[in-house]
């Protein structure tokens, strides 16, 4: 049991006074801390006070004390980034001036563009297209060879710069009309068309579909954008309907939905946020994913 009587008692064995604390018969000796330890402790206190003065520390009503040297980690980062720019300066300059077609021919530039492009892609594009550019429903897969707006380096760069339906003046325009909602086609015509479009890429067709009539419907309504052969048109962002790659899905219900309500995905214009060299790097990166033409 603890005995809290604070009377100075001398331990007979050691000759040291006890603290007067006792637990189960064991008494605590009053052994002072080593002097060096105490002084280290005081020195730490003084040191910490210095810290308060030198570094930003105290919160104030509208801010904080900035410390003697106005240190801020943000400013430190800016300095580091500036240093990085100096280190990479000529490489990035070379990237900015090199013609797009030549970048993939120069191993050093290609490596730089792919490394840089990969990081920027991860920061900006991965949210929609996935970290590897695999895409998702409504967001194109950038690894395949099917391109709404063209898959050459220049076309990819342009898409990156201005986007699609982004509101930028140079952006890709082109809309899939809402044939059903806007009353341009009847419900059963849309069903016919959907099945016809499926037949173009060798998919099964609902029994009883009049493909000949649907073909005429297609010629009248769709071929202006998708072409007579339904091979699509990169100027208008109209997809090729004869291949096996579908942005929104190839089942009948999805096609009916597409024709009824139209489609119009938006790709942002990146020229407002990223510098031309970076966009170039990104174009090379996306092109090198494999689908580029």
């Amino acid at each position: 049991m603890a005995d809290h009587a604070h009377h100075a008692e001398i331990d007979k064995v050691t000759g040291t006074s006890t603290t007067g604390h006792e637990w189960d018969g064991i008494k605590e000796l009053n052994t002072p801390l080593p002097r060096w330890w105490i002084w280290t402790f005081y020195a730490c206190i003084v040191w910490s006070l210095g810290y308060f003065l030198v570094y930003p520390a105290w919160p104030l009503v509208n801010g904080y004390t900035t410390g003697f040297f106005n240190y801020s980690s943000r400013a430190e980062l800016a300095v580091d980034l500036a240093k990085l720019d100096v280190v990479r300066g000529d490489k990035m300059a070379a990237l900015a001036t090199a013609p797009l077609a030549d970048i993939e021919k120069d191993p050093a530039l290609l490596a730089l563009a792919r490394a840089k492009g990969k990081v920027v892609f991860g920061d900006n594009c991965a949210a929609c297209h996935g970290s590897g550019g695999a895409g998702a429903k409504g967001y194109p897969n950038l690894n395949d060879d099917d391109w709404l707006w063209g898959g050459t380096l220049e076309q990819i760069e342009k898409t990156l710069l201005y986007g699609a339906r982004s509101g930028h003046d140079d952006a890709h325009q082109g809309n899939m009309p809402a044939f059903g909602k806007d009353g341009l086609l009847e419900k059963d015509q849309i069903v016919q068309l959907a099945n016809y479009v499926r037949s173009l890429s060798g998919l099964s067709v609902r029994p009883g579909t009049d493909l000949a009539a649907a073909k005429q419907l297609f010629a009248d309504n769709c071929s202006s954008c998708h072409g007579d052969e339904a091979k699509g048109n990169v100027e208008l962002g109209a997809p090729n309907l004869t291949d096996r790659i579908w942005l929104y899905g190839s089942d009948e219900a999805t096609l009916i939905e597409t024709m009824t309500n139209g489609r119009g995905g938006v790709m942002p214009a990146w020229n407002e946020r990223l510098d031309p060299a970076t966009i170039k790097a990104m174009a090379v990166y996306v092109h090198s994913l494999g689908g580029g033409k």
Binding site: G25, P107, G133, A134, N141, D145, I245, G290
Partner: protein, 488 residues
């Protein structure tokens, strides 16, 4: 309530002495003899290698460093004469460490702590520092006397001289250390002109400090209190290992020289030890070997020399202290001949292990490929279907060209039906056989696409093995790597 303590309950056993005591300063005496000579020679060899190896040159051709032993951290290379190791070959060091450990075991099975006594850096540098101390301050008696006498101008200047020499050795030790990490002559020039990187000065500082404190002040305390090896060694040793041993069968009963002579004249049996304490005086850890094997003994053999000198002087056979073991002491006492068994199960196993691992390492080193590739399959997406129905898998391949010159390679693929390979950025005259230039002594990472056009869906399994073959167009050297080709 608790039972009141009686004073007698708390009186400590008086055999253990106090728990803490101030360290006892040791003044080892100069000694000469065969073991001292061996130690001088080993010290010269070890320090010679350590201090001068960075200056040895080795021609590796244009663009490669010409330092025989170089740890090139900036470029992730390790050069050792004709060997050049890359980071992914770090397992050679693992092998080397294993061999080193087993060699230590073997040494221990044969001759106890030979490592401690002759080769350990702590021993070597401490020995060197002792030599300086003796040179400046005199031998044991003189040093003890001076330590008692207190301050004088003479004493002060001696101490200044001793510490200056110590610091210079320590500083040189740190200096040699950093030379292993950069071209030695250049670095020395940079160090002198204060152009060298900060980290070089910092490392010199650290090694100067550690050498000065460990060899100048900590000395035997490192061996006794800090080093784990004595503990491990004690658990590894067996009764056949030869250790520095006081042969008490011969030494006891100790008597003075005169009494021994008288006793012998009367035909009585007396020991050879004349209790002159020479073995204690020379011991760098300040122990008495006649108390039997002990943890503090680093087995430096100096007490053997000391005692041999005494024995020679009094005309008795030498090696009253020598490399021996308890088994032989008992055999002699029983009148049986001594036996030595260097060939025992453990020494054979250790030697076999060393030879085996050494052979494996040598084989690996000689058959080390200088052209290599690592394949990483794309994960997102794992596979892509192209508009014509064919299937594409993307890979990142890292090519390693360990040669000192650029070379042109061609890459072929096999496995999936109608496989076609495409490398982003590759030039090629032959269609479907991309060729690229691999920069010398570097890795090149490239994006590789493989398309497969199966004649039917069933023709391609969900996962097919795929192999990439690299051919050096000039040398004909080949390398391959496997991965899988998957269906979306």
């Amino acid at each position: 309530m608790n039972k009141p303590l009686r004073d007698t309950d708390l009186v400590p056993d008086d055999d253990g002495g106090p728990l803490y005591a101030a360290g006892k300063k040791i003044y080892p005496q100069r000694v000469s003899g065969s073991f001292r000579r061996i130690k001088w020679i080993l010290m010269a060899v070890c320090l010679g290698i350590y201090y001068f190896l960075p200056f040895v040159r080795w021609n590796r051709g244009l663009g490669a460093p010409d330092q025989a032993v170089l740890i090139d951290l900036a470029n992730n290379r390790f050069y050792f004469f004709f060997i050049e190791l890359w980071p992914q070959e770090i397992y050679y060091f693992t092998g080397l460490l294993i061999v080193a450990a087993i060699t230590l075991f073997l040494m221990n099975a044969l001759g106890g702590r030979v490592w401690c006594g002759y080769l350990c850096p702590q021993t070597v540098w401490t020995d060197l520092f002792f030599a300086v101390e003796r040179l400046v301050e005199g031998d044991r008696r003189e040093r003890m006397r001076k330590a008692e006498e207190g301050w004088s101008l003479q004493r002060g200047s001696e101490l200044v001289l001793k510490h200056s020499i110590w610091l210079m050795i320590a500083w040189w030790t740190g200096g040699a250390w950093v030379l292993y990490f950069a071209d030695a002559p250049t670095l020395i020039k940079d160090l002198v002109t204060f152009q060298a990187p900060m980290v070089a000065y910092i490392w010199i500082g650290i090694l100067t400090f550690t050498t000065y404190t460990l060899a100048g002040f900590m000395r035997e305390q490192v061996c006794v209190y800090m080093c784990p090896w004595p503990r491990i060694q004690a658990a590894l040793t067996d009764e056949w290992a030869l250790n520095v041993t006081y042969k008490y069968d011969r030494g006891e009963q100790r008597t003075s020289l005169k009494k021994a002579a008288q006793a012998r004249a009367l035909g009585e049996q007396v020991g050879d030890c004349v209790d002159c304490n020479q073995c204690v005086a020379v011991c760098p850890t300040g122990i008495d070997i006649r108390n039997g094997p002990q943890l503090d003994c680093i087995q430096c053999g100096l007490c053997i020399d000391a005692c041999d000198n005494v024995m020679t002087k009094i005309g008795r056979p030498t090696r009253l202290i020598g490399y021996d073991n308890d088994i032989n002491i008992h055999r002699r006492m029983e009148g049986k001949p001594e036996i030595f068994k260097p060939l025992r199960a453990r020494t054979v196993v250790y030697s076999a292990l060393i030879a085996g691992i050494g052979a494996i390492m040598l084989y690996a080193l000689l058959n080390r490929s200088l052209l290599d590739l690592n394949v990483l399959h794309d994960r997102n997406p794992v596979a892509v279907r192209l508009s014509d129905g064919s299937i594409r898998n993307g890979y990142t391949i890292r090519f390693l060209n360990k040669r000192g010159f650029d070379r042109v390679i061609a890459v072929d693929v096999s496995g999936p039906p109608n496989a076609v390979i495409h490398i982003v950025g590759a030039d090629s005259i032959v269609p479907d056989r991309p060729m690229i230039i691999l920069a010398r002594d570097a890795t090149t990472e490239l994006r590789v696409l493989v398309d497969s056009r199966p004649s039917s869906e069933e023709d391609l399994a969900p996962s097919t093995p795929v192999a990439f073959h690299v051919t050096d167009i000039g040398l004909g050297e080949v390398a391959s790597a496997k991965d899988v080709f998957v269906k979306p």
